[in-house]
Amino acid sequence: MDRRDYPTLFLLILPAALVFLAFFIVPMVRLAFVGASGEDGLAAYVSVLTTPRHFESMVATILLSLGVTFAALAVSTVAGLFLVRNRFPGRETLISVLTLPLAFPGVVIGFLVILLAGRQGLVGDVTQALTGEKLVFAYSMAGLFVGYLYFSIPRVILTIMAAAEKLDPALEEAARSLGAPAWRVVRDVILPALKPGLIASGAICFATSMGAFGTAFTLATRIDVLPMTIYTEFTLNANIAGAASLSITLGLVTWAALFIARSLSGSTVAASG
């Protein structure tokens, strides 16, 4: 590149750089300092590991997010492949209904979960009629799982459908002509072709589940996922340093997951075989 272009380039990047600095870097650095400003100092960052409540909250959040991610990938892959390969009346409507959850904020999704599995919910009514016992799971990790799954599926399904559209049907036919049974066609042809899409949408899914707050807040304040813990520390316990350090930690874990996913999907070709 020509050296004379640098002033122009600098001017062009300046607006974006200023916004990035003002609304992203500065608050984040401040947050990092706030995290270390409590009576424990930098040790606050270790509190995620040393404070049992924080550690459990972190583990629970990661497990929940992993569970939601894998469930969403499994459900969406099957449904996405079906929708790409079959033409039937109402298909377009079904696809738009499946993507509907994208339009709802977390609060509304929490509300929907309560309507489904809350104390006055549909599941409760049905189970009471059948067994006499009322099944209520909205206000627990199970409720949160259902809610997160609900808003994760559309994100994954659209990516899978886009990837599956590009899959050459002759590839599957070639594998079958060579004697591959259905499960091998899935393992050797379909999944490798969908792999970049699965990793990318899985990473987004994981990151969203790690940070989601609205649904958890609607369902119950007693669910100990990390965003709820941060909220509790911040508002109820006035432990600002703790909340800040937890926030930074949450950010780092999520960012690391996205980073790993990105490097994995970049090396799909080299890693296969």
């Binding site: 594998a175 079958r176 060579l178 591959a180 075989g273």
Partner: protein, 345 residues
């Protein structure tokens, strides 16, 4: 591989798709063991559907049966038929190297590792692509990809090799070269092969027999020579090469009662006026290097195309004396309507 050649029989095989489209009328077809049979026809004539029925990718309509050496395979899906398939789009697995692609069928069959390695090396050597073994598929040219696809299909010692327009995606030069290679490959293997194409030159070069298809029916089956020199109907005469039509009155003794005689452009010669059967006026003259193509008017109801190695110039508007090689005169066996007109859908 040559020890046991599989003959293929189709009995009463037709195909109607779920939306009611009739892709293939009910037909019978025999492919001899070791024979290369070419299915030739324009797009939508049913040739690919026929191939996919043999492969097991499509099931024939009720009553249709597919036999490999008298063994009924109709109910078997493709993965249990032991066929080799080569596709127009190559269909190589992008997540595997060249060697892994070729090895795939053997790995699925759980062959011993040493045997797989030996067979892969043999296949790559046969297709002369040993140096590509560790390459990724996206690093290969079209011709190399199709060689890999052939090696992969043959590696499992299939009973029947099925090729679906394997050369269509290649450029002309490469197509000619690979056509020669495929021809010698099929002959040296002695494997039963069914080859689908819309390119008549490819069909002529490769087929022991050619099945010309039109609108889901067989228009004619025969050797390339039979198809070219004794077309069974108008469709075949027009689809294969160029054909001129002459009124029967020019050569009543050769016409055998039909109203029209057919003659290929290369069976017409420009001769001295004394030897001529008739003269025609040049309306177009095209020098093609090894031959010249003249279009003449004023002989029959349709313009006449002459193609032969001519020296000299033929200006538009001049009269040219023409002699017809008697052995080149063809009549259609009967005046039954062509398959195009038979279509009653």
């Amino acid at each position: 591989m040559t020890s046991e050649n599989t003959a293929v029989s189709l009995r009463a095989c037709g195909k109607t798709f779920a939306d009611g489209t009739r892709a293939l009328e009910q037909l019978d077809l025999e492919v001899g063991g070791g024979e290369t049979l070419v299915l030739l026809g324009p797009s939508g004539c049913g040739k690919t559907t026929l191939l996919r029925i043999v492969a097991g990718l499509e099931m024939p309509d009720a009553g249709g049966r597919v036999l490999f050496n008298d063994e009924d395979v109709s109910a078997r899906p493709i993965e249990k038929r032991n066929v080799g398939m080569v596709f127009q789009s190559y269909a190589l697995f992008p997540n595997m190297s060249v060697a892994e692609n070729v090895a795939y069928g053997l790995r699925v069959r759980r062959a011993p590792k040493a045997e797989i390695a030996a067979r892969v090396a043999e296949m790559l050597a046969m297709m002369r692509i040993e140096e590509l073994a560790e390459r990724r598929v996206d690093q290969l040219s079209g011709g190399q990809r199709q060689r890999v696809a052939l090696a992969r299909a043959i590696a499992v010692r299939p009973r029947v090799l099925l090729l679906d327009e394997p050369l269509t995606a290649l450029d002309a030069l490469l197509r000619d070269r690979l056509r020669v290679e495929i021809d010698s490959l099929l002959r040296s293997l002695g494997i039963t092969a069914i080859y689908v194409t819309h390119d008549q030159a490819e069909a002529m070069a490769l087929g022991d027999r050619i099945v010309v298809m039109s609108h889901g029916r067989i228009a004619q089956i025969g050797t390339p020579q039979e198809i070219y020199h004794r077309p069974a109907n108008d469709f075949v005469a027009d689809f294969i090469g160029t054909v001129n039509r002459l009124p029967a009155r020019f050569f009543p003794e050769q016409a055998n009662g039909s109203t029209e005689l057919l003659v290929r452009p290369e069976d017409l010669d420009v001769v001295p006026a004394a030897e001529a059967d008739f003269t025609g006026r040049v309306t177009s003259s095209l020098f093609l290097g090894n031959r010249t193509r003249l279009v003449l008017e004023g002989i029959g109801p349709e313009p006449l195309v002459v193609e032969s190695a001519l020296r000299g110039r033929f200006d538009v508007g001049t009269d040219v004396p023409i002699r017809v090689k008697r052995e080149g005169l063809m009549t259609l066996p009967n005046t039954r309507p062509s398959p195009t007109e038979q279509r009653t859908l």
